[in-house]
């Protein structure tokens, strides 16, 4: 078998594919964070908790109401997005005039409350969410066997990321949103309802986290803590990509998934810290992040 640096090509291609699957989750989660930070200046520490809520909404919808996977893909982000809107109206709105640290503390506390409540009601043992029948089975890529569901995750994630990027960077709505972050009072003077934009942004960002949660439910066990370890990595991804940069979040999310995948082959013990090592290097060499504007 052909080898590159002593690693068989089949292994490299396999890890590349799996890295893209994990990177898809990183990209979708960091995208939501980047949108919320870029447009609102809020460091949303509750992102991981909303991700877990998305997965739980899908699971409970299936168990209690018989809502299938396809409906959950729409309904769960919608429900969690509405909750996000409530959070913005009730709490976050009070904090915009204060130091951004207060928003961070508030969302961190909120994450603890959400995860603690899920833990209280549903315990620590995870629950299984079945892979939808239409996406069951595997495809043989020649170099590896890939479950169809994982391929689906990559497809959905790239579609969602591209759409979000397009809306924000290339449409009139996006232009208005960006204008709101530059100079909100002026935009308001033009008759644009800025508070509505802000609340929609938070709801949308949170819905993205919930969508990632629904997508991940059939892949890993649904637990209250499923977002808490992920959110730290995702923050590192956002910092590497450049705080608030949409494209940076997407590209570095996918890329770091792949880097992590290779670390799992070369030096598995370091696979959970490699992202942070890269973050440290980026902060030293390019403090604004790879795609950030200094």
């Amino acid at each position: 078998m052909t080898e590159i640096f002593g690693i068989p090509v089949a292994v490299i291609l396999g890890q590349l594919t799996l890295g893209l699957v994990n990177g898809s989750f990183y990209a979708m989660l960091s995208l939501g964070l980047a949108v919320i930070f870029g447009l609102m200046g809020v460091v949303n520490f509750a992102h991981g908790a909303f991700y877990a809520l998305g997965a739980f909404a899908a699971l409970l919808g299936l168990q209690w109401l018989g809502v299938n996977y396809w409906a959950a893909l729409v309904l769960s982000p919608l429900a969690v997005g509405l909750l996000g809107i409530l959070v913005e109206r009730l709490f976050l709105r009070q904090l915009y005039k204060l130091d951004p640290l207060y928003g961070l503390l508030m969302t961190f506390g909120l994450a603890l409350v959400i995860e603690g409540s899920l833990h209280q009601f549903f315990g620590a043992s995870g629950r299984s969410y079945p892979v939808p029948a239409a996406l069951g089975g595997v495809i043989n890529l020649g170099f590896m066997i890939l479950p169809i569901y994982r391929a689906w995750v990559i497809v959905v994630s790239i579609a969602v990321c591209f759409t979000t990027w397009f809306v924000i960077e290339r449409t009139r709505l996006g232009a208005t949103l960006r204008a709101a972050t530059e100079n909100a009072p002026l935009l308001q003077a033009f008759g644009v309802n800025v508070p509505l934009l802000v609340v929609a942004t938070y709801g949308g960002g949170v819905a993205l986290a919930a969508l990632a949660g629904v997508l991940s439910a059939p892949v890993i066990l649904v637990t209250s803590q499923m977002g808490s370890s992920l959110v730290i990595i995702v923050f590192a991804v956002v910092v590497i990509g450049g705080m608030g940069s949409i494209l940076g979040a997407i590209v570095s999310g996918l890329a770091l998934g792949v880097v992590e995948g290779f670390t799992k082959v070369i030096y598995p013990e370091a696979s959970n810290i490699v992202v942070f090592v890269i973050m440290a290097l980026v902060l030293i060499l390019r403090p604004a992040g790879l795609f950030g504007k200094a």
Binding site: V11, H119, A124, R150, T223, Q225, S229, P268, E269, N272
Partner: protein, 401 residues
């Protein structure tokens, strides 16, 4: 200046009062502590259910011993050795702690064993598996009650090698427990004519196992040995199924609890070999305990839950027959008595601290074989305690070979 003197004076008064109170508590109460993972990865293996089991045992004992009220203290170690050890030290110094039950996590339990030795407090390890707790990390006050890595390996690894699984690849949790489990298993595998062909050390609480599983598959080994626990075990087995790896490799759970099987579902877990110290559906006594526990917790108990009940009872019995809570006298009594209850028959505590009792090699039932809720295991083999836990190794200075 005056204010400062006053403050110091007040502090001194409070300190004396606190001291007096602690001493008072110790005089008319027997204090049983439990330090466990109450909020993390292992919270359902022992956790709140274990606290309930401990309280059931105390209630069944009558709530008092030697005319003293039995009280409990509970803390969450959050899987951090420093928190576990400092809480234990605090209780021993200030709350008159008489005995500690240690929940999950070998790393934390090793740290707590050092406190047990320093403070001379009997310490029952329930949820942690590392056999080092009764070998190089042993103390005169440690009792390893439910299972250890040696017994798990002797059960599961021997059975699989004897059934033809000769070449092994390990997916190992990268901390004390995982490496001890892998070492114990590979020794057993090699002693039975099998071979280790590879291993990968996976960071604790990884979010994705597929990369590691592909490495396992590429090794060409016959057996995929999961030397991990809790959610890590469940997620790795789930992914192994999804990637079709379990069709070619035989999965071996070096440690699985019944709540893991419940969350995975029999469809995913069927056919899995595992070793357990107790199962709720073994006989009338175990079923009776299972039923009582189920009424409170709405799920069947794990071996740790049964172990918490049994260990609490054993300690209280030893206190009663020793007529004192003096640690050395209670430990001497504990090492004399036979443990006969729903958890163990003819169990006894060896010089190195291992509680020798029967272990069960199980296979997870198929969905067709399972007839009622929580009907998950069939017993393949009952291992006698001496066979399961093996001979004294000599690594513990208290128990020469």
């Amino acid at each position: 200046m005056k204010l400062k003197t006053l403050a110091i004076g007040l502090a001194a008064v409070f300190a004396t009062m606190a001291g007096a109170q602690a001493a008072l508590a110790a005089a008319d109460e027997v204090v049983i502590g439990d330090i466990d993972d109450l909020s993390g990865n292992y919270a359902d293996v022992a956790g709140a259910g274990a606290v309930e089991a401990m309280k059931m045992a105390i209630a069944d004992f009558g709530g008092t011993v030697l005319g003293r009220k039995i009280v409990t203290l509970v803390a969450d170690h959050q899987n951090k050795p420093d928190i576990g050890a400092s809480k234990f030290r605090e209780w021993a110094d200030q709350n008159g702690l008489n005995v500690l039950l240690g929940g999950s996590n070998t790393g934390v339990n090793i740290a707590m064993a050092k406190v047990a030795a320093a403070k001379k407090v009997p310490f029952f390890v329930i949820g942690a598996g590392g056999a080092s707790l009764t070998n190089e990390d042993c103390t005169a006050y440690t009792v390893h009650y439910v299972y250890d890595t040696t017994a798990l390996a002797n059960g599961t690894a021997t059975t699989i090698v004897q059934n033809g699984g000769k070449t092994w690849f390990y997916l190992t949790a990268d901390y004390a427990f995982g490496t001890q489990l892998q070492n114990a298993a590979s020794k057993v595998v090699e002693a039975n004519g099998g071979k280790t062909v590879g291993a990968v050390r996976v960071p604790l609480a990884a979010s994705d196992f597929s990369s590691f599983l592909l490495q396992a598959q590429a090794s060409g080994a016959q057996v995929l040995a999961l030397a991990n626990a809790g959610e890590d075990f469940s997620n790795s087995l789930k992914a192994a199924n999804e990637f079709g790896i379990t069709k070619k490799m035989k999965p071996a759970a070096l440690l699985a609890f019944i709540n893991n099987i419940d969350s995975l579902g029999l469809q995913t877990a069927q056919g899995l070999y595992l070793t357990t110290g107790w199962y709720w559906d073994l006989n009338a006594e175990t079923r009776a305990f299972g039923k009582r526990y189920f009424e409170k917790m709405k799920k069947e108990p794990t071996m740790d839950h049964a172990g918490y009940y049994s260990a609490t009872t054993s300690y209280l019995k030893a206190v009663k027959s020793a007529g004192t809570t003096d640690s050395d006298k209670v430990m001497a009594e504990l090492k004399k008595i036979k443990i006969n209850d729903m958890f163990a028959k003819g169990g006894y505590i060896r010089a190195d601290g291992v509680m020798i009792h029967d272990m069960y090699v199980m296979q997870v039932k198929t969905p067709q074989e399972s007839k009622y809720p929580w009907d998950y295991y069939k017993v393949l083999k009952v291992m006698k305690g001496e066979e399961a836990f093996g001979p004294i190794t000599g690594a513990c200075p208290l128990a020469p070979k």
